[in-house]
């Protein structure tokens, strides 16, 4: 059983960590979750990001879902926004591609050019 006491422990641990590294979200990931994105597998893409964050213990990444963005032919679409850099949009994403993006772009800071469909704002 998961209890609220478990959450208290998580909170204490997270606050310690935040003290150590200044506590800001450094990277934002936005998964397009409009009707066509969902039909093309965006939920599985979201799931893969959450699994990677949890397994790799990435504490400075925020993942959100958003609606359609007019790139329906390239769904599922994902934006990666790293603080101080321009926005990178990946298209035709799959859980396998998510793993690569997390390792190369999120962890090592090098975008995966072959999946990029747009950059900048």
């Amino acid at each position: 059983m998961k209890t609220l006491a478990d959450l208290k422990k998580i909170r204490e641990k997270a606050q310690e960590e935040m003290k150590l590294r200044g506590g800001n979200v450094r990277i934002k990931i936005v998964v397009g979750m409009g009707t066509s994105g969902i039909a093309m597998g965006a939920r599985e893409v979201m799931k893969a990001f959450l699994e990677e964050i949890s397994q790799r213990n990435l504490t400075d990444v925020l993942v959100t879902q958003t609606g359609e963005k007019g790139l329906s032919s390239m769904e599922p679409v994902v934006d990666v926004i790293i603080e101080g850099e321009e926005k990178i949009t990946y298209g035709n994403m799959t859980p396998e591609k998510v793993k690569k993006v997390v390792v190369e772009h999120i962890v090592n800071g090098k975008m995966v050019s072959e999946y990029v469909v747009a950059s900048g704002n």
Binding site: K8, A14, V31, G34, R43, K47, G67, E68, S72
Partner: protein, 189 residues
């Protein structure tokens, strides 16, 4: 959409876009009544009666013309409910919110599988930290009723400024949902 959980996700995204602060999701699996019912209630901007009519029309969308010409989410959900000999109702009030109820005949051969409720709920909850979710799963079966409640407001209160995408929090929410889904027999419906 391949399963009902994907429709549910689509509807949740509509509610978020309508500016909902609170989304209540109820799933009832009533084996005695041969019914699988979904009720999604939000406190978003709502719709007037004209928009309400059009929302069920596959050739309508509330999004700006240049962005997108059709909105298929609601019509497809409605169609899939009705294909299983079920019902679909959409009620709304401008300024108050929207309620969707979709009933599926449980043992109908044309009923879509439920799919992964866990993936839908986990993504929506973590992906929309600004929205409070109240999830209620109920299964009724030969006089036995089991239910599961999940309230993200309590969790956020407990966490303070720690985001829901913090790794241990993702695990916590995921495992709570898995437990609740198993206890109400909604893993593979």
């Amino acid at each position: 959409m391949q399963d009902i959980s994907l429709h549910l996700l689509d509807i949740i995204e509509n509610s978020v876009r309508a500016g909902a602060k609170t989304i209540r999701i109820r799933v009832i699996n009533d084996e005695i009544a041969n019914l699988l019912r979904f009720i999604i209630e939000d406190d978003g901007c709502g719709m007037d009666s004209d928009t309400l009519q059009m929302a069920q029309d596959p050739f309508f969308t509330s999004k700006a013309e240049r962005e997108k010409k059709v909105g298929l989410g609601i019509p497809l959900f409605k169609q899939n409910a009705e294909l299983s000999n079920g019902h679909f109702t959409l009620t709304s009030e401008p300024g108050l919110g929207t309620v969707i109820r979709a009933d599926f005949e449980n043992n109908n051969i044309d009923r879509l599988p439920l799919g992964s409720l866990k993936d839908t709920l986990l993504g929506a909850i973590v992906g929309h930290q600004e929205v409070n979710f109240f999830v209620n799963l109920i299964s009724k079966n030969k006089g036995k009723e089991q239910s599961f409640h999940f309230d993200t407001e309590v969790i956020k209160e407990e966490l303070g400024d720690i985001p829901l995408t913090y790794p241990d929090v993702i695990d916590y929410i995921e495992h709570s949902l898995i437990e609740g889904i198993q206890n109400t027999n909604m893993e593979d419906v």
